[in-house]
Symmetry: C2
Subunit: 245 residues, 2 copies
């Protein structure tokens, strides 16, 4: 029995999310089926981040245990072969110690949120960005974001469905920058609450379009009340970029 750590890219638009659901195909199911077709074994994949429907991944990490003895390149290539034609692929596979755990051993999770900030809807990046037509002030968004860094009760930035025991999380970085016609939010923490990055994005967008002052996101944080923060930004612009161990 070998424990395999795999790094995964997927187009979230093609799935109901990471986790198995009754109502459609999940990334987890697609990969578990690929393992079954390759090794004729039923395995359970555990991921670092259980991304919601529509959320993309450039560097999701998951682990599973497999009896079949083989090498890392074969695991990567066989899973990619059997995942087709679904929009998911294994970037790398690595045999790890039996006590490695993709979810509990993760020391950092990194997300990118892409906003296309122009009048015309996306063409080449359709399905890859949140389209916002109002001109956003990235510097104001960045400044407002800095008051949210650190260890806080993030109840205001947490979905009602969030199952975390505690609303206290430590935000390590939250940077906002303009990149051509896009606004990029890059966010890092050991772990996140459900929808936290999307609510942070939806809130900072209010600052960017001048509807909120730069101090308002901090006030929303202090309210510890979901209704005090901004709306949840759509899944389409969110990417799980990297997981650190």
């Amino acid at each position: 029995m070998t424990r395999w750590k795999i790094t995964i890219e997927y187009d979230g638009g093609g799935f109901v999310g990471w986790q198995r659901q009754e109502n459609g195909l999940s990334v987890q199911q697609t990969l578990e089926q690929a393992v079954r077709r390759f090794a004729r074994e039923d395995v359970s994949l555990i991921a670092a981040g259980r991304t919601d429907s529509g959320v993309h991944a450039l560097g999701q990490v998951a682990h599973f245990d497999m009896e079949r003895q083989t090498d890392a390149a074969t695991v990567r290539d066989a899973l990619n072969y059997h995942c087709r034609p679904h929009p998911v692929a294994v970037l790398s596979a690595e045999a790890v110690d039996a006590d490695f755990h993709a979810r509990f051993a993760a020391k950092s999770r990194h997300y990118l949120y892409r906003i296309l900030n122009r009048h015309t809807p996306p063409i080449l990046d359709a399905g890859r960005v949140w389209h916002v037509t109002a001109r956003l002030d990235a510097a104001a968004m960045h400044e407002a974001a800095q008051a949210l860094i650190g260890k806080h009760d993030f109840s205001s930035f947490r979905a009602a469905a969030c199952q975390a025991d505690s609303p206290v999380k430590t935000l390590d970085a939250l940077d906002v920058a303009r990149v051509g016609a896009e606004i990029h939010l890059t966010v890092s923490a050991r772990s996140f609450l459900h929808n936290q990055v999307r609510i942070l994005t939806g809130t900072l967008k209010l600052v960017g379009e001048g509807k909120w002052d730069r101090d308002d996101p901090r006030r929303a944080l202090e309210a510890r009340d979901r209704t005090a923060a901004g709306p949840t930004a759509p899944a389409v612009g969110l990417y799980l970029t990297q997981v650190g161990y």
Copy 2:
């Protein structure tokens, strides 16, 4: 009568190319139909670059003459409305002097070629990059490219079907750099021969994978013979990014 200059984005994968063809939908036809639906006028669009089938544009420029009097924002929005659901959109429209000519007045054309250089096929960038699995040496490609800068007879880098009167062109810039898992070639000239950027890319790729020495692209140039250069890189990775006037 007003002459309109429009800047256009499109996904080349959805068209037979810029120019009207018998065998499918072109970008030109899509936009001309949009003008007809909006203004009930038959117009002819002239573009800065007649991109081939599959080639994308982030900043193609075209002009046309229209009787209907209206403002620039309306031209942009009306054309976008009537182009749907095809993957083409007008980023901006501008009323210009009657002697403006999108093709003949262009002083510089800028292209980007994106190679995804990793083992695993593209997922999020499927249809947007050329997938090359052999590890490419971007520095070697860049060095080899510098010998091609300047005014030369580019017969070696010209498709057999090229209709240009002369094979002599002036290459202003040809830079190759690694950007994460991608190799980006950025190319600038006043004008290009048919398939010139794609043959330059296919030739420099041979240097990148070590099959050719850094001096070989210069030798291929000096041969003035298409068979002396490398293969034509696929259209899927090529973008017309900008046109200068």
